[in-house]
Amino acid sequence: MVRDVTASATAVVANGDDEARGRVGDLVVDLESKDGDVDRWRPLVNSKPVWFVRRRIGFGVRPVSWQGWVVSVIALGIVVATLIGRGRSTSSTASIVVVVGLYLAVGYARSVRRTTSTVAESVQSIDDAVPRSARSPGETVARAVLANVTQRSLRETAQATGSPANAIDVTNLTKRFGERTAFLDVTFSVARGEVFGFLGPNGAGKTTTVRTLSTLIEPTSGQARIAGIALEPENGEAIRQKISVMTESPGLYAKLSVNENLEFFVGLYRLPNGAARIGDALEAVNLSARANDPCGSLSKGLRQRVGLARALLNDPEIIFLDEPTSGLDPVATREVSDLIVSLRSRGVTIFLTTHRLEEAERLCDRVAILNTTLRVVGRTDDLRQQLFSSSLEVVTSEPLLRPDDVFARVPAISSWRRDDAGHYVLETLSPKATAPAVARALVAANADIESLVESHHSLEDVYLQLIDQDAEVRP
């Protein structure tokens, strides 16, 4: 079914013909009816008995698979044998029938859910293949039709396929350790393929957030979805399969070689072609020559690189990097930065916690600043605009005698202040347009201009502004 939809959608994308479009429509209607089935089954799927069956007798085996059929046939055989052999043991028979029935029902509902979810992937593939601006009418229709079927159950499909729009969705997440609050009511999203900077002072809750999102510790309240999977205790393994975490301290086995350290993690992720993956990962961090050296003999920078290689092994959807350049020299720092850039180009989502604000500004698409509560989230340019008004900075060789009079000649200046002798900051909505008028006014006042530039506020300014505000608010 899904193959048919995808094939028809592909034909629409390729040709834009009406027949293919109609075929997609028919298939979608069929899928919608199955989606309705999922809705009908959902209360049952989430019911306690089914949960019990799934957890206790293992729902990795599905009725739609051959193992599922074997289990079902054996169970039915037991029922028949009980009926023939004992005749009156109706309670045991009934319980087996109920278990098998629930088993089949949940398996069916899950398979339908998977089917509809795969349509979402088709939509995504159209989005990936053809940019919106270049999309033909046929392609637009195909996408719209496909999107329509999945829109109603987008959350479910995202959960099943792990292919949501956002790599990370965090809603009102809070973590408390007894009386101490690590982070409070945090809400943000990280798009797929985004480099997301997570900044904050020491003790702000950054590492605890990373630990929470990587399922090491459990949130006190709130929800999150990681790689499309709900952050719940039962999903820990599934989430960890799709992510990797590079902790601030790389945590390597000192007496084992680099290769042996990585081999261990290849085993933990059950990765095929382990040697090739290790080779690729070491090459990515430029460490192939040290593969057989004991990790204990490596410098801190090299150990950090081994930690990075380890984080790349499982080809994760999301990488959490906790202070990846901590303790590295400038060259090694640059190498890590280059690696982050190359990971982004491969579509990997990167969640970067760092104290290096210039690094965050250079690498991150967006940043969040945490100080127990989330202070801001956004692009650095936007944050600058939010926090700082645009301004011009003027430096004259001597202080102006009557600065009020000089700046009053330029109506675009809303206000001004003197930072230092001969150093003036002029607030204006449009610094570039105002600069010539300011220059003229200064020349008219016989001032010697040393410089006249637009003020630049770095991410560090944004950060310090916010943290200072917090320090003023908190006693």
Binding site: I217, S244, S249, G251, L256, E260, F264, R270, P294
Partner: protein, 249 residues
């Protein structure tokens, strides 16, 4: 609960590699069995040929008690170090961010600990029995060379090693200090010997059936202990030192 053999094997292999590179662990494993190699041999060879049968049986029982102490003592301190040692080295957190479940982690750790313990016990047992078979008085050899004892050694060594391992691991996952964990681990694993002592002290007549029943009891205890230790394994407590409201699998 599903246990993936590949992940468990990865943990075991990593542990063995670490043992090989860590002379301290190797010495700890080997020294105790060497002591237990000479003590029973000298005890039995020093017996007078005129001793009454009951005294011979008592001496033979003490030999087997020593044999059963090896699988208890050897894994105890290593198991006690297993989890807290990783925590102290800072290697635990990266491991816990992988799909490895707590059951797989503790099982891998346990197998890597109990296998050397059991194998060393077998090795010592074989050497002791071979020496005594050739050098001891025929009366003693008769009392010694009984099928129930062989069955007991075969079954009890891994089961006692498993018990000792679980106790050590349980202490390791909840302890905050390596030295305390190792001391407690060795002491706390000794009570398991009580069950086997029923045979060695002739409270229960050593027969194959008794050996099998005692082994069955130990199997039940070991499986239960694995589950208990797995539940004691709390990622949050291990990472932050604070217990989680619910534990993450």
């Amino acid at each position: 609960m599903t246990v993936d053999a590949t992940r468990v094997r990865a943990v075991v292999l990593k542990e063995f590699r670490q043992y090989r590179r860590n002379k301290f662990i190797l010495y700890t494993m080997v020294v105790m069995p060497i002591v237990f190699l000479f003590v029973p041999i000298s005890t039995i060879l020093g017996l007078s040929s005129s001793l009454p049968e009951s005294a011979v049986r008592g001496a033979v029982g003490s030999v087997f008690l020593l044999m059963f102490i090896i699988p208890v003592v050897v894994p105890a301190s290593i198991a006690a170090y297993s989890v807290i040692g990783e925590r102290e080295q800072g290697t635990l957190e990266p491991v816990l961010t992988t799909p490895l479940s707590r059951e797989e982690f503790v099982l891998g750790k346990a197998l890597a600990t109990l296998l050397p313990g059991a194998l060393l016990s077998y090795a010592v047992f074989i050497v002791v029995m071979a020496v005594l078979r050739t050098a001891a008085h025929p009366n003693v050899v008769h009392a010694l060379w009984q099928v129930p004892w062989f069955v007991a050694e075969l079954l009890f060594a891994p089961l006692l090693a498993a018990w000792s391992t679980w106790v050590g691991t349980a202490i390791s996952v909840r302890s905050s200090d390596v030295r305390v964990a190792q001391q407690l681990g060795t002491l706390a694993s000794l009570p398991a010997l009580g069950i086997t002592s029923l045979m060695t002290f002739q409270v229960l007549k050593p027969t194959v059936v008794v050996a099998l029943v005692v082994a069955a009891v130990l199997v039940i205890i070991d499986v239960g202990a694995w589950r208990v230790v797995s539940h004691l394994f709390d990622r949050e407590r291990l990472i932050t030192g604070t217990a989680a409201s619910r534990s993450v699998p």
